[in-house]
């Protein structure tokens, strides 16, 4: 009884949020899962159970392998986006970390693209990534032309094979500053004694970073990768804004939207669940690990 008095009020205060999340996160995921196992392919179809058929259809029986194509696009996008953002963010943090004049200004300007919506940045990046070349060059290609770097001109996201790599550029532009801020905090969290000890021991700058500082940033790098990774899987706004819903740049999140326009609920649900599983494979172990280490303290 006294235990209940001790814990009860806390649980009570928390309960509205718990109920809401139980329904709107877990309940709706179950609902979507059920839908993905049903044959509801139009507004009037009944939702009778068809097992994993919708999932096997996605992988083996989709017109033009559309779903596999969208997964490939997502993979290219994710790799380029994560690698690009990590490298730029870490490099900027590295440049700023040892102290430069006007650090605040550099930091704020590197970070500002983050405040802007993907829809708004898509407007300008569509213009920058103008696919015209030569005399028709516009956007970035026009700059390459002027600098006599014509060989760098690119068709950007309209390239049939590597277009998604170009699509990652606006995302890199928006998120690199964020990653910089996280790494900067990571650098600043390293005790000064560690550096001093290394320098006293005669470590060169290279050794200092390679052996002392970068290893200390591993936890930061892990969280950065988790954040970027799950953002990338969900990427929707940016692609809709730069290219619109098009085959050439389609990713699963856009495919869901396109499928819903045709009222094929079961298929849209199946794609969504695949997307959820892709995220969960990474996130769930991470959350469990996080929870465990926290409790061991």
């Amino acid at each position: 009884m006294s235990k209940l008095r001790r814990w009860g009020p806390g649980l009570l205060l928390l309960s509205p949020s718990l109920v809401v999340l139980a329904i709107f996160v877990y309940g709706l995921i179950i609902w979507t899962t059920k839908l993905s196992l049903s044959g509801k392919h139009s507004a009037i179809d009944e939702s009778k159970f068809v097992g994993l058929k919708n999932f096997t259809d996605l992988f083996t029986n989709d017109i033009n392998d559309r779903f596999v194509h969208s997964l490939k696009n997502l993979l290219i996008f994710t790799v380029v986006f994560m690698v690009g953002t990590l490298i730029l963010g870490l490099f900027w943090a590295f440049l700023l970390e040892r102290g430069v004049r006007a650090e605040g200004i550099f930091r704020s300007i590197y970070l500002f693209p983050m405040a802007i919506s993907f829809v708004a940045s898509g407007v300008v990046w569509r213009w920058l990534m103008n696919s015209g070349t030569g005399d028709q060059a516009g956007g970035i290609n026009a700059i390459f032309g002027k600098l006599h770097l014509g060989f760098l001109e690119s068709t950007w996201w309209t390239h049939p094979k590597w277009g998604m790599a170009a699509m990652a550029m606006p995302a890199i532009w928006q998120l690199s500053g964020y990653v910089m801020a996280l790494f900067l905090a990571g650098f600043r969290g390293i005790p000064a004694e560690l550096r001093e000890a290394a320098l006293v021991d005669g470590a060169s700058t290279f050794q200092l970073y390679r052996r002392v500082l970068f290893p200390q940033l591993t936890p930061t790098a892990l969280s950065v990768m988790i954040i970027l990774g799950h953002m990338s899987m969900k990427m929707f706004d940016l692609i809709m804004s730069v290219s619109g819903a098009q085959w050439i740049t389609e990713v699963p999140a856009v495919y869901v939207w396109q499928t819903l326009l045709t009222s094929d609920y079961a298929k849209a649900a199946a794609i969504s669940i695949v997307l959820l599983l892709l995220v969960a494979i990474v996130i769930v172990p991470y959350l469990i690990y996080n929870n465990r280490v926290e409790r061991s303290q």
């Binding site: 009020p9 806390g10 649980l11 928390l14 949020s17 718990l18 999340l21 996160v25 709706l28 995921i29 609902w31 979507t32 839908l35 040892r98 102290g99 430069v100 650090e103 704020s108 300007i109 970070l111 500002f112 405040a115 802007i116 919506s117 708004a120 407007v123 300008v124 920058l128 060059a137 956007g139 026009a142 500053g177 964020y178 801020a181 996280l182 900067l184 905090a185 600043r188 000064a192 550096r195 001093e196 936890p219 969280s223 950065v224 954040i227 799950h230 929707f236 706004d237 809709m240 804004s241 939207w257 819903l260 969504s272 959820l276 991470y286 996080n290 929870n291 280490v293 926290e294 303290q297």
Partner: protein, 294 residues
């Protein structure tokens, strides 16, 4: 390594010592050169946005795309404002309530999960946190149906509701970490010994020191509600939706009016940029909070 999730409000610490800062003049020159080059690259899209938005229709050809307007005109700004004006104000009606409600919920939850804990609080917290990472497509189909059945009409009120719901995890995370790092457990114990209950402790001990946490969640939720497109496209339209929908309608045409689109993109970005410039220091702190650091 600690696995405490990053403190919610870290003002980026000053650089540690100047002993580390001993680079040759050449090294320093290269550092600044690189920083400036990157600065220019980052600012390039902003330059394009501003310059193009002041050009007249005739000037948006292939020639001189990167040059300044030969004559500056507000025509495109007018056109963009006509298209975006109503949704601009609607988006405030969306983002402000979302920021306030989410923050209050986050503070209450964060307090319980960090300083008024019960057995299993960590597992409950992990379950809450998962909601932050899910691709919203996985809930969108039934969600659209359910809000209709609750009786919420498409548009701002529905969007306020869903942003508040799906903002609970991040706000809880921010406040939990904030309280865990800034409010000593002894203060809570003392308050309990004095016979104060949960609400009284929350009201008179916790809330007075919560301002920095509120700044972070308010900025965070305001920005994400303002910039959201996914929920908006599923649950509103150009007549009743937020500015991202209107902007996409303006800019998404087959042959868009680039000058008006870019003026529109600037209009749509202005509020978050102002928030960011005015409260930037705390915003950076908020970004740190977004990292579940192990």
């Amino acid at each position: 390594m600690t696995t405490t999730i990053e403190p919610a409000v870290t003002v980026t610490p000053k650089r540690t010592t100047s002993t580390v800062n001993r680079r040759s003049p050449v090294g320093r020159f290269i550092t600044y050169l690189l920083l400036l080059v990157f600065l220019l690259i980052v600012l390039m899209p902003a330059y394009v946005l501003i310059v193009t938005s002041f050009k007249s229709g005739r000037e948006i050809g292939v020639n001189g795309q990167w040059s300044l307007p030969s004559e500056w005109t507000f025509a495109s700004w007018n056109k963009a404002w006509t298209a975006l004006g109503p949704s601009f104000f609607r988006t405030f009606e969306l983002a402000i309530p979302v920021a306030v409600i989410s923050s209050i919920l986050g503070a209450a939850n964060g307090f319980v999960l960090s300083r008024w804990r019960f057995p299993g609080a960590d597992i409950v917290f992990t379950l809450i946190l998962f909601g932050m990472f899910i691709p919203y497509q996985a809930v969108m189909i039934p969600l659209r149906q359910i809000v209709q059945e609750i009786g919420l009409p498409p548009g701002i009120s529905t969007l306020v509701f869903v942003h508040c719901v799906y903002g609970i995890p991040i706000c809880t995370l921010i406040f939990r970490n904030y309280y865990a790092t800034t409010v000593p457990i002894e203060i809570i114990e003392a308050s309990r010994v004095d016979g104060a209950g949960l609400l009284r402790t929350f009201w008179s001990v916790i809330l007075p020191v919560s301002a920095p946490g509120f700044v972070v969640t308010v900025i965070w939720q305001f920005t994400s509600a303002w910039n959201d497109y996914l929920f908006a496209i599923f649950m509103s339209n150009t007549r009743n939706g937020p500015i991202t929908i209107a902007l996409n309608a303006l800019a998404g045409a087959q042959s868009p009016d680039y000058a008006a689109s870019m003026a529109g993109a600037l209009i749509a970005s202005l509020p978050t940029l102002v928030v960011y410039i005015v409260l930037g220091r705390w915003f950076i702190g908020g970004l740190m909070a977004g990292s579940v650091k192990s």
